[in-house]
């Protein structure tokens, strides 16, 4: 009798679990475990390497804007490290399955983007705190210097991803991210100092607003693209 009750209860539990569907919040948290650990490891490595580089450079020379420029190279590198997560549906031909499930590709892409974005912003925030402590600079200004290249890389990658929907679109993003990093390296070693004068803060703020608007527009485009197989695999350029 007891055995039957236990069996019955287990069956009821199984059926209840099987028929229950996850909320958006539960889906969001579950996706954390499906992002490859190598992506998180690469991002952590970039932040640690930049932190160490910064620490070493500050000990050798006085903190200056050149170091800020050099540290901000972390931004495009972080985007590059996460790009494979954003392009993997297309790269591994998973679109059809991901377009036919309860939580659609559109939602999945947004979740992946936001998870990576949050991790990147946390990393950049940490770098800004370290720089502020070691270089005695205002943290809001440092965040501005880090966020503009980050946003610029995100915007460029999203622009590419929205227009070149091919399995190898991730490589184009990688090339673009490397170009941004290269540009920053050149600027770091041939510093255009006026860029970091207090009078130029307005320019940085304007750039931040522009890149945020650009990202918002590209995210909207991405949502539309991810709703149908036709648009999700289309080349628009």
């Amino acid at each position: 009798m007891l055995e039957e009750t236990v069996k019955g209860a287990a069956e009821v539990l199984r059926k209840t679990q099987a028929s229950r569907r996850t909320s958006f919040g539960e889906f969001y948290m579950t996706q954390l475990r499906f992002i490859n650990w190598k992506v998180w490891a690469a991002q952590l490595l970039i932040i640690l390497a930049m932190g160490l580089l910064l620490h070493k450079s500050i000990q050798e020379q006085d903190g200056n804007v050149q170091l800020v420029m050099l540290t901000s190279i972390a931004a495009p590198l972080l985007v590059a490290a996460g790009k494979q997560t954003l392009t993997r549906s297309l790269r591994f031909h998973m679109l059809e399955i991901e377009l036919s499930t309860r939580h659609l590709l559109e939602k999945l892409t947004l979740v992946r983007m936001s998870l990576l974005g949050i991790a990147d912003l946390l990393g950049l925030g940490l770098l800004a705190i370290l720089m502020s402590a070691w270089m005695q600079m205002e943290i809001t200004v440092l965040l501005l210097y880090l966020l503009v290249p980050f946003n610029l890389t995100c915007f460029g990658c999203l622009w590419l991803l929205n227009r070149v929907r091919t399995p190898n679109c991730g490589y184009y993003c990688l090339i673009y991210s490397c170009l941004v990093a290269l540009m920053q390296t050149i600027l770091a070693f041939n510093p255009s100092l006026w860029l970091f004068e207090s009078s130029a803060v307005g320019v940085w703020q304007a750039l931040l607003v522009l890149t945020v608007a650009g990202i918002a527009s590209e995210v909207r485009g991405m949502r539309k693209i991810c709703r149908s197989l036709e648009t999700a695999t289309k080349i628009l350029v």
């Binding site: 679990q17 099987a18 031909h93 059809e96 399955i97 036919s100 149908s228």
Partner: protein
Amino acid sequence: MLELTLNQVSKQFSAKKVVDGISARLNSGVYGLLGANGAGKTTLMRMICGILKPTSGTILMNGEEIGRMGERYRDLLGYLPQDFGYYPDFSAEEFLWYVGSLKGLTLPAAKGKARELLRMVALSEAARKKIRTFSGGMKQRLGIAQAMLNDPRVLVLDEPTAGLDPKERVRFRNLIADLARDKIVILSTHIVSDVEYIADQILVMKQGGLLMTGTVEQLTATMEGCVWSCHIPAREAEEWNARYCVSNLGIRWSCVSCPR
């Protein structure tokens, strides 16, 4: 009781009409979609799954347009695409957990269902192996398992037997026959024997249109008097092949005589 209705469904890509005004009413049972490559089977199935929108016409589930149903329709749906991909860094069970999460299953439910399905498709022993090490047949069986994760009421299988060996084909047919109760199962193939015994209805497609529908017996009856089996001299085979539609041509060297 389920009813999937296709009302004059058409799909056009640029100037080419791939699916042309298909109408059908599907209730619980197995439906075999037969047709040569390029007949429009995959496009029709993609529209049934809602991943492509028809250029004209509507697809209704119990009288409600599937696009409007959204999540409610996708909750009823299981789909195995023709060329489905997989994430190579996932093991078979991780892949099923992942698809389970997309289908809205909680992680414990997805894990339980994955275990059950892996057993059903005989992949229990390979559950922790990376998918990149799987053979074509194993990947196909995993694809079938992912389609069934949410206990779908509408199961759409595009070329499900591709890559399966004869033994696996038989196992698959039995599996579908078992699953078909209270479900609409639509499976496409160009191999008649795949659907001959399990399909309640066959829909034959040609150049985007529905050529004929019916049970195997009904379709076979329409061919009566149009199909022959005959013996001809080997030297005439080429001529006959050009003049008629020859399905099986066999050469028998049954009689050799040596002149004295």
